[in-house]
Amino acid sequence: MTTDVRPRTRVPLRNAVTHTAVITKRNVLRFIRIPQLLLFSTVQPVMFLLLFNFVFGGAITTGTPAGSDQYINWLMPGILVQSAAFGATATALGLTEDLGAGVIDRFRSLPIARSAVLAGRTLADLVRNTFVFSLMLVVGYLMGWRFEQGFWKMAVGFGVALLFGYSFSWVMAAIGLAVKTPEAAQAAGFLPIFPLVFASSIFVPTSSMPDWLQTFAEFQPITVVANTVRSLMIPEEALGFLGLDQGTLILQSLAWIAAIIAVFAPLSVRQYKRAVG
């Protein structure tokens, strides 16, 4: 038996960056070449925006000060965060499809960083989310939503929502690699999403919820992120209503985003190493 005395070969960081870029490009090409994928991932958030605004909007009073109480002002930042969370399920779907098609096997047999395939997937989903968000911006604007604190703060709000979506993609990557089939990924992916999205401040202020639920709703990441995005878009006189100031909210959001990535990225990479495609 030949004994190998050479040190374990590692993938240099510079190469890992190229690998990630190559795989991101491959995934983005898929969105461009399968127009249905992009169409349906765009239609859904726009539909939610229209439905919630026109069906429930008239009946919901958020309690924000007069003059800033149009429901679209409350809803728009929330729907952005919801879309980011829903959109993350595409990460789980994409990975399970690649597993099933043997593409993951091919990648795993290549001398590339184990994280490159997952980073390429999540980054491509970030690109897609950015596209979806810019369309929602147009639709929201047509529905009467305005950048009350100016363009740049609105842009920061978009950025926070996108980053949150990116962190959630890692959660979905771990789920997708655990369940392995697209059907199961679809079902399992929405399991954590529904309670997080609905028991949050996305659609209504948490103050109307029963105490026990309110406690959960106020501390969970989606409320924090939705309120952060909101604090960057609603009229300044309504800011006090959110309870925390903008800076604190942004810090809390970034902390959640960092924590989610710190837990789920290594977990996903571990699952990926084990995934028997």
Binding site: M1, T2, D4, T9, L29, R33, G100, R108, P111
Partner: protein
């Protein structure tokens, strides 16, 4: 240096011992054919050797690089074309090959020129700029092969390269593989077809139930088998008499398989003629008579006394899904 060297590799899935102590070794520059039915452990062995699966026990190295100690080092040396063409439907053929080239750390220009070169060699150049979703099954296999070659691996693993494709494409692929081999590529290929192993491999290992049950050159294996066989089908009434005739010629009882009887045909068509004469003088009119090449079944009958069992033993849910496609 040995291209591949394994010692007592064991891999189990639940109660199933997919690999039950496999030791093989072969040198660089040859084609090693791993022959066996479905579920024999061929794919599992390839997955172990390409670092996709960790063995439960045993050791292995590929061109001197230890599989367990340095998996990334192994991946630098190997190329894999799996049982299911792992190509991207929505990229063009060229984009697929270039992408894999880039993942082997080639520069854009280098990946481009090697992709051109490989696609030319594999005779896909004319279709290189079409999306793969328009490709036939045979074209996908070829493209998969092209992708596995673009990194110029030292050892190439082909898992059942021609299973499930039409006969014309199969011959086409055989030619391509033969050409690659002339270029000095070391190859491990698995197959369920004796003919394929015979045609392409310098050395053949026969695997069954996760164990290597025979190994040798194609000629050595054929010597064990006695090469071609004469197979006859007769009416049930004539069967006993036919067995006598065949025994006289072969000097041993014929092998019965269902309604057919067969004997080794060391002298090829002369044995066939002898059988025809003998049957004729016994006034037996066979329903069918043929001189044919030994099949995987004959190999298994000779080596193990049982027929090759095709067992579906999928590695995972994902490969089951692929199998349906």
């Amino acid at each position: 240096m040995n291209a591949v060297e394994t010692h007592n590799i064991v891999k189990t899935f639940g109660d199933i011992r997919a690999l039950d102590g496999v030791s093989i070794q072969f040198e660089e520059g040859i084609v090693y054919g791993l022959l066996g039915p479905n579920g024999a452990g061929k794919t599992t062995l390839i997955r172990v050797l390409t670092t996709l699966l960790k063995p439960d026990s045993g050791s292995a190295s590929v061109v001197g690089v230890d599989l367990i100690a340095d998996p990334v080092g192994v991946r630098r040396k190997v190329g894999l074309a799996g049982q299911f063409a792992a190509v991207d439907e929505y990229q063009t053929g060229r984009e697929n090959v270039e992408m894999v080239g880039r993942l082997y750390n080639l520069s854009k220009a280098e990946a481009r020129s090697r992709a051109d070169d490989v696609l030319e060699r594999i005779r896909l150049a004319d279709d290189a700029d079409r999306q793969v979703k328009t490709y036939s099954g045979g074209m996908r296999r070829k493209l998969d092969l092209a992708a596995s070659m673009v990194g110029r691996p030292e050892v190439l693993f082909l898992d059942e390269p021609t299973t499930g494709i039409d006969p014309a494409s199969r011959i086409d692929l055989w030619d391509l593989i033969a050409e690659m081999v002339e270029g000095g590529t070391t190859l491990l290929l698995t197959t369920q077809y004796l003919e394929e192993a015979d045609r392409l491999a310098d050395r053949i290992g026969v695997i069954d139930h996760g164990k290597l049950i025979a190994e040798g050159t194609s000629d050595e294996l054929k010597a064990t088998l006695g090469g071609d066989v004469v197979e006859i089908h007769v009416h049930d009434d004539d069967r006993a008499l036919a067995v006598e005739c065949l025994t006289r010629i072969a000097g041993e009882e014929p092998t019965a398989q269902g309604a057919s009887l067969s004997i080794p045909a060391p002298d090829g068509s002369r044995t066939l003629t002898a059988v025809v004469r003998e049957l004729d003088s016994a006034a037996i009119e066979p329903r069918d008579i043929a001189l044919r090449k030994p099949t995987l079944n004959d190999v298994f009958l000779t080596l193990t006394g049982h027929k090759a069992e095709n067992k579906d033993r999928p590695v995972s849910a994902a490969s089951r899904r692929r199998g349906r496609n």
